[in-house]
Symmetry: C2
Subunit: 457 residues, 2 copies
């Protein structure tokens, strides 16, 4: 007999995963390695360890170990907010009048307000274990910076956050949360780094960008003894840590005998989606299952749906290794979308490779459609979503409505990555009808592609 | 053998209470009834039903029914965010190095950000059931307004919120959350009511007060067909609905064989504390248990610790019934404390009576001490508390430190009523050292008492 499915499936603490799942280790054709921008040879863990903690550098290049143990200290921290609930959207199903069953994994149930904390605590732990004094990082929308501040505070590490200037000014409360956790927050571009000074000189009054803030944070880490750089998305190590999302989701579904048909996630750098799909995709590439995976991105920053699969710079200052990814070019400047977390020009190499192999679909959605879905969802399911997360909601609703048309019963699972409490300025614009649906023209995209490095590989 | 206690105790949905507990029905000496301000006779349910829904009016005067069934529709809504977790503060205990065990019931795990939703959904349900079009209410800090907006949105009711003007201006994002849920929000005092116009005339440029916003909301409801007024604290009906907090807490503790020694809650109007202690106090008054209960209030608004136990007006406009309560006088204007939810001049009659009978203690704490505890707690336990909730944290920490001195093992339970995401402006003031610890002088209190009605009862 099937167990009745509650509104919220909370796993026991004993069911919290003990291992992260390294998706690359399951793939036959591996994602392309990071390249040293000078030699164009694959980066070694040793080379990477001047930028990242040694253990994180090791994880970054490891594409053979399928499961990596979660340190006890990290699991103990996870226990303060995990397992995160898998929620059955009974109310949404009823209002949509769909035969589909909708589930969402809610990662907003912690003070950082998003899934970012899952990797932040791991990165802080390895920094502490290595005896470092602190870490530097960048933040756009502010979720990653908040998460890393919390994690560093827990382990007594210093945390220096370079926050994209426009966000720093528009989101003073995000900044204040980071200060509450003892972090120092600097608007980027700043005058504290060479790359920041250069960009300020070239573009006086600029509001900054994620690519630029990354360059500054990397430079700042390299200039300070006992510091390393930490990044909240795009990297392999981050996808590894985020697999905890998918592992819990799969355990919860298995427990109730539910097989997912469609798995949906928003995708900026790819950390949430990569983590959510990890165990499901591992089954898929081993030929053991047949899921549909859908990455959802903003039409204003259409990395997968309109980008090129090529080696590119990860940051504006070109101080980072090169990554092969779907990209719009590191010089592409997305319009001022309100989903700041999805404004990155590239997509993590693992998801890029899976997409290229046809194992994953991608869809782009326009901003007002996203906010319509966000508000609709908030009113029905109670949770006020982050604009980023609402991209996944939009497509989940669209798929549920298709089921209504066809009469098919499908199990739709999506990732609700976070809450929108610090995004109310965007909601205000939406309510006041002041939100634009800007989509870049082909000509604009060509300009971005023109900046791709010519590697002659 | 005792079960190992997890970090978070989540009850199953099947353990969600089916009945609210009506604490007054357990008390030998009942709290004094509301009085009709004209006749000075106790208000009947019929009289109250011109202001409140009929069923809520009935609940308001019912001091004999011990358990009142929670309607299925309300329980279904509860399932979207309840049972709320009871958290064992392992990390805090470790850092404090105390033999005490500390537990907190976390009510911030929903979009309204506080416990207020527990009563909001009940009040909206009864309004819907009665066939009303909508409800009016007031909000100070904004938590209650948000909660009622969510609840009304769920049942398709119109919701008109009078928001204390100073909060309306300082917390635009709170306002935006309410708009997301379809509510209309009016800064109070407004020009839409007689009492509002009068106050604006008398005190031009005033930032408003909770007592004034109540008067406006009551007047607005009486002027509109198919509308009633809803209140988020102070009333008996609200304490009844909030008993779900205490009932879950007790079930969770019983499950793990834990007996609480001290139960602590912040107290403004008393809704959270009254709900948290309900089943424990019911045992106490029946002589079946021996707990210590501590109400914590701001030193800037010391209702219990320095107030008078007397009949008083509930609102500035004196349009509401009279209530016997610990009060500072309806004319008392507390300093601009950052715990807006605790700035009410009176205390709910049930808690007032229990305090008067010596069944409950009260303690007042200064603002900077509260924010110190808030930040400390956020860094250690991860959750960023609302300033209101941090009052309880402050005393819980103090009690745990006393245990450290004496070596006593005690089980300390406190209510963490909500999150501080919309209070970052207050945290900023704290970080910048700009927070005042204003305590009213005896002379100021005397002025407030001078405004108490002389009922010659």
């Amino acid at each position: 007999m099937k167990k009745e499915i509650p509104y919220k499936i909370y796993l026991d603490e004993s069911e919290l995963p003990k291992y992260w799942l390294n998706l690359r280790a399951f793939m036959d054709k591996k994602p392309a390695p990071l390249l040293n921008p000078k030699t164009l040879n694959p980066m070694t863990a040793e080379e990477l360890s001047s930028v990242f903690c040694a253990e994180l550098a090791r994880q970054e290049v490891d594409d053979t170990t399928k499961y990596i143990e979660i340190p006890t200290e990290v699991r103990d921290f996870y226990k303060m907010y995990r397992p995160a609930p898998l929620i059955r959207a009974y109310c949404l199903e009823k209002v949509l009048d769909t035969p589909a069953h909708i589930y969402y994994k809610f990662e907003g149930n912690n003070t950082s307000g998003s899934h970012k904390l899952n990797s932040a605590i791991a990165q802080a732990y390895y920094a502490k274990e290595q005896g470092l004094k602190g870490v530097t990082t960048e933040t756009g929308a502010g979720q990653w910076g908040t998460a890393l501040s919390m994690a560093c505070s827990y382990f007594g590490l210093d945390c220096n956050v370079y926050m994209v200037k426009v966000s720093y000014e528009q989101k003073p409360f995000r900044r204040e949360v980071m200060r509450t956790y003892g972090a120092t927050v600097t608007p980027s571009p700043s005058m504290t780094t060479e790359v920041g000074r250069k960009i300020n000189e070239e573009f006086p009054g600029t509001g900054g960008s994620l690519g630029c803030a990354i360059s500054e944070a990397v430079e700042a880490a390299s200039n300070k003894d006992g510091y390393r750089y930490a990044l909240g998305s795009v990297l392999n190590q981050v996808l590894l840590h985020q697999s905890v999302i998918g592992l819990e989701t799969k355990t919860a579904l298995d427990k109730y005998g539910v097989k997912a048909d469609i798995i949906i996630g928003c995708a900026g750098g790819g950390s949430n989606l990569g983590g959510l799909i990890a165990p499901f995709m591992a089954e898929q590439v081993e030929g053991k299952a047949n899921y549909r995976f859908i990455a959802v991105e903003p039409a204003s920053c259409p990395t997968l749906t309109r980008g090129k699969y090529a080696y590119d710079y990860c940051d504006t200052g070109k101080v980072c290794p090169l990554a092969k990814m779907y990209t719009l070019g590191s010089g592409f400047i997305p319009s001022a979308s309100h989903a700041g977390g999805l404004r990155y020009h590239g997509m993590t190499s693992t998801l890029s490779e899976l997409y290229d192999q046809g194992l994953m679909e991608a869809r782009s959605v326009e901003q007002t459609k996203v906010f319509e879905a966000a508000e609709y969802f908030a009113r029905i399911e109670g949770i006020l979503p982050a604009p980023e997360s609402a991209h996944a909601i939009r497509v989940a609703i669209d798929e549920a409505l298709k089921c209504k048309e066809t009469g098919e019963h499908k199990n739709i699972v999506f990732g609700l990555t976070g809450t929108g409490y610090f995004d109310m300025m965007s909601y205000e614009k939406f309510h006041d009808g002041k939100m634009s649906d800007y989509i870049p023209s082909d000509e604009e995209l060509q300009k971005g592609f023109a900046g791709l490095p010519d590697l002659k590989l």
